[in-house]
């Protein structure tokens, strides 16, 4: 049902029929490597969760990699990023050390938040990554605040606020839309529509399922984007970022994407068929698209891509190794960082 509904809406939506502009070879290799890093990292995280090394909630980004990597290809140094709880991929895309992220997942002292934040709560001032937020929709107001700070400082930076199709129904999202457009704040709202808010299909939760139109009553322009195609994401991101950077206010990008795994590790995903997932994997996989294209267009050789895969695996294994053996935080950490 959900598939049919989506196909129908996609046809009538503003997704351009023509293929998006090609990436340079370097960009394509970069995208491949970054997406693969996220994929392998998340697979490893899932594995460590199964081994009991990661506790609590753990939301994997597998399937959605093209969104954050495509955005990253268009963002400039100084642009901020903020997202919800499905945040591992965003941190890796920002260039944050995978060891720090993985050790945070395992709750160790070498974690990005010294083991005190966990999967959903990580930050990096250095990389302009503002979290990592566990309350659905909160990051949208906060991300608008990052944009407010950019406008206040006139620093030319743009804030990119990611949220899902579920968060898109929260009230504060629209309070933020209103403020952002009213004050012409430099923010790009990226709605990662992976079709399910936890176990509830978009068709069961959203009156307006074309999320690119969610800003219409605030005069915020929006665009639906094939979020499985990193080229399309990059092209749309460039346009949206330029719009915001030029002082024209916010822009909404609905990234039509898909998560292969459950909402969290404890989700049996009974709300969709195995066939649906399989079809997405086979026909739309963001990483597969890039590698197939590069091989087809003879931009890269099989060996080269394999070598990248091996490098990525080594990075992820090193991160997992570190995260498994790094000690837990010192007990004195219980009482630190409460007040600055």
């Amino acid at each position: 049902m959900a598939i049919a509904a989506r196909a129908k809406s996609a046809k009538s939506a503003s997704v351009p029929a023509a293929a998006p502009p090609a990436l340079t070879r370097d960009q394509e290799i970069f995208a491949y490597r970054e997406m693969l890093l996220i994929r392998r990292f998340e697979e490893k995280a899932g594995q460590l969760y199964g081994m009991g090394l990661i506790g609590g909630f753990c939301h994997l980004y597998i399937g959605q990699e093209a969104v954050v990597v495509g955005m990253q290809l268009a963002m400039k140094k100084g642009d901020q990023m903020i997202t919800g709880y499905r945040d591992h991929g965003h941190m890796l895309a920002c260039g944050i050390d995978p060891k720090g992220v993985m050790a945070e997942l395992t709750g160790r002292r070498g974690g990005l938040s010294k083991g005190k934040g966990g999967s959903m709560h990580m930050f990096s001032k250095e990389k302009h990554f503002y979290g990592g937020h566990g309350i659905v929709g909160a990051q949208v107001s906060l991300g608008t605040g990052l944009a407010f700070a950019n406008a206040y400082r006139k620093n030319g930076s743009v804030s990119v606020a990611y949220f899902g199709d579920g968060a898109a129904n929260q009230g504060q999202v629209y309070e933020s839309f209103n403020i952002a457009e009213l004050w012409k704040l430099p923010v790009v709202f990226v709605i990662e529509n992976n079709r399910y808010a936890m176990g509830t299909a978009v068709t069961r939760a959203s009156a307006q399922q074309d999320f690119s139109r969610r800003g219409i009553s605030f005069n915020i322009p929006g665009e639906q984007v094939d979020g499985m195609d990193v080229r399309a994401v990059k092209a749309a991101a460039e346009k949206a970022l330029a719009w915001a950077r030029e002082g024209k206010g916010p822009f909404i990008l609905e990234m039509q994407t898909y998560r292969y795994r459950g909402h969290s590790m404890s989700d049996p995903a009974k709300y969709r068929t195995k066939e649906e997932v399989q079809k997405m994997r086979e026909e739309h996989d963001p990483i597969e698209q890039v590698s197939a294209r590069m091989l087809r267009e003879k931009r890269a050789k099989e060996d080269e891509l394999k070598a990248i895969d091996q490098t990525v695996r080594a990075i992820v294994n090193e991160a997992a190794e570190f995260a498994s053996h790094n000690p837990e935080p010192d007990v004195s950490e219980l009482w630190t960082d409460i007040l600055a």
Binding site: K114, I135, E175
Partner: protein, 456 residues
């Protein structure tokens, strides 16, 4: 029959105002609904409409008169056909008998007396410092203006803070001095603009977020508690949130259940927040300046009834009162009264009452609810052995409950009687004047509680 025109009350807490201008002159015909005069309150200039018809036969209070008490006759309307030059109705016989018009002090809930000069802790103000008498409203405004001059990262945002000059006039003049970049009017979207403020603070800006009243902060509580308070901890100390949330808290007067509650206990439960609640102009200024400079989120609870009260504030370039430090307001040896914010007004009057009966009460103004200065309280208990804790908020899990527990933990052996508390009643705030009075603590409640712990 001539009718008196009375000085109107134009807000729930207004007790007096300035008769700015008469728009009618003696002899003018007046119809019901005509604007006859302009009144300036501490919040706004308002128009007074006639409710009676006739001829303005005399003006009793001239243009430009300040501090005209509510319900004072300001003019007389003569009925049709009456002599327009008819003598004004005698004030003594015609003045309505509402409490505000009588020379007696207002009811216990509404205190107007300036807080005593002895309020100032000696160590915070060097001897010989020049003191200036200003209202708490002005003190808060001055604190913000001084900090905004000092640091470009400081800005104010909230509903009606800029062009309207503040719903309660606390931000008066800030737009004129600092411009719209730093004094930002927001739409009525507490959840949204609070998140925006917190996000801006995460980048190192220092927002002062005004809630028109703290009641509306419940719309934004998630951003205050989950985002502002916890980020430092969740980020392992990497990213903090230097932000001040401020505005009037607690019961004002006759605004009923949804607009009359104290948030001291609510926010004081959250690690990562500091909660401040000043009782007088001087503390308000020194604490707000400290709050703005603090690198953590600070909940700054003001009070509408206290806004207009004057107090002496030191004329110092750097007047900072540390957060987390209580103040001994009045020394005494028999019983300790502990309170904060408007609760102090009950304690101060109760101590005067008790003094008449030979009881020397020591009063401690906590000033900061979190972190709570237990040490100062305990030091006093060690001397008096008895304690009454007073707050306007509700009793269950209230601040006074916390005070009582802390005393038990830290000074049980010094107690000569169980700690008593006086709180607001455990009911939503009623609207009716008599019920509202019953719902709030009173001076006699405090006196009675003090006598109870003294076994007198």
């Amino acid at each position: 029959m001539a009718t008196n025109i009375l000085m109107p009350a134009l807000s729930p807490t207004m007790e007096q105002g300035k008769l700015a201008k008469w728009l009618k002159k003696v002899g003018d015909k007046i119809k019901s609904g005509d604007v006859i005069a302009e009144i300036e309150t501490d919040k706004a200039t308002m128009e007074v409409e006639a409710v009676d018809e006739g001829v303005l036969s005399s003006i009793l209070v001239a243009d430009g008169t300040e501090n005209v008490a509510v319900n004072t006759p300001i003019g007389v309307i003569a009925g049709e056909g009456e002599d327009a030059s008819a003598a004004p109705v005698q004030v003594a016989s015609a003045a309505p008998s509402t409490p505000a018009a009588t020379p007696e002090p207002a009811p216990a809930v509404v205190h107007t007396a300036p807080v005593h000069a002895q309020a100032h802790a000696v160590e915070e103000i060097p001897a010989g410092t020049e003191m200036v008498l200003i209202t708490m409203r002005e003190a808060l405004r001055d604190a913000m203006a001084e900090e905004m001059r000092r640091d470009d990262n400081v800005f104010v945002m909230g509903e009606e803070v800029a062009e309207y000059q503040g719903a309660y006039k606390v931000t008066q003049g800030l737009l004129q001095e600092f411009g719209p970049r730093r004094v930002v009017d927001t739409p009525i979207t507490e959840h949204g603009f609070t998140g925006v403020g917190v996000g801006a603070a995460m980048t190192g800006l220092r927002p002062i977020v005004e809630f028109m009243t703290w009641n509306f902060s419940m719309q934004a509580m998630d951003q205050i508690v989950n985002s502002a308070a916890k980020t430092l901890y969740m980020s392992g100390g990497q990213m903090g949130c230097p932000i001040v949330f401020r505005g009037p808290n607690g019961a004002a007067a006759r605004v009923a259940a949804q607009h009359s509650q104290c948030y001291a206990a609510w926010y004081s439960q959250i690690p990562g927040l500091s909660v401040v609640m000043p009782s007088n102009a001087s503390d308000a200024k020194g604490l707000l300046k400290s709050a703005i400079r603090d690198n953590n989120p600070v909940i700054f609870l003001e009070n509408e009834i206290l806004y207009g009260q004057s107090g002496e504030v030191p004329k110092l370039d750097e007047f900072l009162i540390p957060i987390g430090k209580a103040r001994v307001h009045r020394a005494g040896k028999d019983v300790t009264l502990v309170s904060f914010g408007i609760g102090m007004t009950y304690c101060i009057k109760a101590a005067d009452e008790l003094a008449k009966e030979g009881v020397e009460a020591e009063i401690i103004d906590l000033r900061t609810i979190r972190p709570m200065d237990t040490e100062t309280v305990v030091r006093s208990i060690m001397k008096t052995g008895r304690c009454v804790a007073v707050e306007e908020g509700w009793p269950q899990s209230g601040v006074t409950a916390e005070i009582g527990m802390r005393i038990m933990e830290a000074a049980f052996d010094y107690l000569d009687a169980p700690v008593a508390r006086v709180t607001g009643k455990d009911v939503p705030m009623p609207y009716a004047a008599n019920l509202e009075k019953l719902a709030l603590p009173t001076v006699s409640d405090v006196v009675r509680a003090a006598k109870a712990v003294l076994y007198r």
